[in-house]
Symmetry: C2
C-alpha cells in the first residue's frame, strides 16, 4: 500500500508521500511516489501516486515522453496545457489508457491494476488547484470545504486532518498536520513505510519552495512522533469522564 496526502491552503499546497511498495508481504521495496514538473516561476505540477507500481511507473513515463516529444501540444503535454484542469485531464486519460493496456495482459491473473494519483499545481496567473485522479481517469477537486485529498491507506491518518486542517491553516501547521497524519498511518499499517517525501508549493511561487526527503532515522521526525504520543497520552489522562 501507500499513503499520500495533499493539502490545498490559502498560503500554498503541501504534499507528503511514503515510499514503500510491496508485491506480497515478503517483497518490499522503496520507490519514489512524488514527482515534480517545474518551469520555475511559470508552472509547477506535483504528482503523488498510489496503487499498482507498473501502472503508475508507466503512466509517469508516458507523461514524460509526451513532454519531451518534439510535436508536443497543449493537448498532450502537461507542461503546455493551458489550465490545471487540462493537466488533470491529460493525467487521467494517460492513467486510464495505461491501465487498460496492462489490464488486457492481466486478465488471467487476478492482480489488481488499480492506481490513483493526486495532481497539484499552479500556472502563472492561474489559481492553485489540486485533483484526485481515480483509476478510471475521472477526478475530483479539493475545495474550501474539503481542503485535503488522500490516496492509498487513508483512514488511519484522517481523524487528525479532519480536526485541524482548514484553508486558513498556515504552511508550518500544515507540515505538522501531514507528518502527524503519516505518523498515525506508519504506526498502524506495515505496508506504509519511511523514508517520506515532503514538498511545499507556496502560493504564486509557481515552483516547489520546500522539498525534503525524511529518512528513517530522521531525529526531528522521531522527536515529533514521540512528542505527539506524549501529547495524546497527556490529553487522554486529563480528560475526565
Amino acid at each position: 500500500m501507500t499513503y499520500c496526502v495533499g493539502l490545498l491552503l490559502n498560503e500554498g499546497m503541501v504534499l507528503l508521500s511514503d515510499t514503500r511498495t510491496n508485491a506480497g508481504l515478503d517483497n518490499i521495496a522503496t520507490y519514489r511516489k512524488m514527482f515534480v514538473f517545474e518551469e520555475p516561476g511559470e508552472r509547477v505540477i506535483g504528482i503523488l501516486t498510489a496503487g499498482s507500481l507498473s501502472v503508475t511507473q508507466t503512466t509517469m513515463a508516458r507523461l514524460h515522453e509526451a513532454i519531451d516529444d518534439h510535436e508536443a501540444t497543449s493537448e498532450s503535454s502537461i507542461m503546455l496545457a493551458p489550465t490545471m484542469l487540462k493537466v488533470a485531464e491529460i493525467v487521467g486519460n494517460t492513467l486510464s489508457s495505461v491501465r487498460q493496456d496492462i489490464d488486457s495482459k492481466m486478465e488471467a491473473s487476478k492482480v489488481s491494476t488499480a492506481a490513483s494519483m493526486i495532481v497539484a499545481g499552479q500556472r502563472k496567473g492561474g489559481a492553485m488547484r489540486m485533483f484526485l485522479i481515480y483509476p478510471e481517469g475521472n477526478f475530483i477537486e479539493a475545495t474550501e470545504d474539503t481542503p485535503y485529498l488522500q490516496i492509498g491507506e487513508h483512514k488511519y491518518g484522517k481523524p487528525i486532518l479532519d480536526r485541524v486542517v482548514t484553508p486558513a491553516t498556515s504552511l508550518d501547521d500544515a507540515r505538522k498536520a501531514v507528518l502527524l497524519s503519516m505518523d498515525s498511518t506508519l504506526r498502524s499499517n506495515l505496508s506504509v513505510g519511511m523514508p517520506l517525501d515532503f514538498a511545499v508549493i507556496a502560493k504564486d511561487a509557481c515552483r516547489v519552495t520546500t522539498r525534503r526527503r525524511i529518512e528513517k532515522k530522521d531525529p526531528d521526525f522521531a522527536r515529533m512522533s514521540e512528542a505527539w504520543s506524549e501529547a495524546l497520552r497527556e490529553g487522554f489522562t486529563r480528560i475526565e469522564i
Copy 2:
C-alpha cells in the same frame, strides 16, 4: 457498516458497539449489536456483531434457540459449553452455517453475507477470554500482546487504542479509550452511528457489572468528545517541528 471494540484487561473486559445499520445510504436504521448471555456469578458471555444484519440476526436467533432447547447439550448451547473456547466454536459454527444457508439463496445477487463477531466471556473458575469470529467461522483470540479486538470499520479508531491500551489499563481508562476510539470513527464514517452500547465485565464477577446505552445527545459523551478535540488541538499547537 459498524464499529465494535472489545478490550481484554487484567481488571476485566470492556465492550462497546454502535447501532447503525444501513441497506444503501438511503435506508438507515438502528439495531442493537451487543448481546449479553448471563447466569450471574456462574457465566457471562457478551457478543458484538458486525456485517450482514440478516446473517447476524439469524445467528443470534439460533444461539438463543439452542439455549432454550430442552435437549440442549454442552455441544449445542453456549450456556452449557464447558469452556469459553467451546463457546467460540459454537458461535463460529452457527455463524458459518447461517451464512452458507443465506449465501445459497443470494447467489444471483451480489449482496455480501459476510459477518463477524466478538465473543467475550468468563465461566466461574475459568479465565476471561475474548475471540474474534471470522465470517467463515474460524477465530482468533485477544492476548497480552494485543489486548483488544475490533470488527467493522476499525481503522479510524485504531491509533488511539495502539497508543494507550495495555493489559494493565484500568477499567476507567479503558472506558475512555473505547469511547474516544468510537468518537474518531463516528467523526470520519457516516455509516457508524449513535446510540452506543457500552458494557463492562469485571474480572471474576461472571456477570455484566456495568451496562449503559449512550444516546445521541448524551451530555457526558459530548463533553468528552469536545475535551478530546481540545486536547488534540492543544497538543498539536504545542509540538514544535
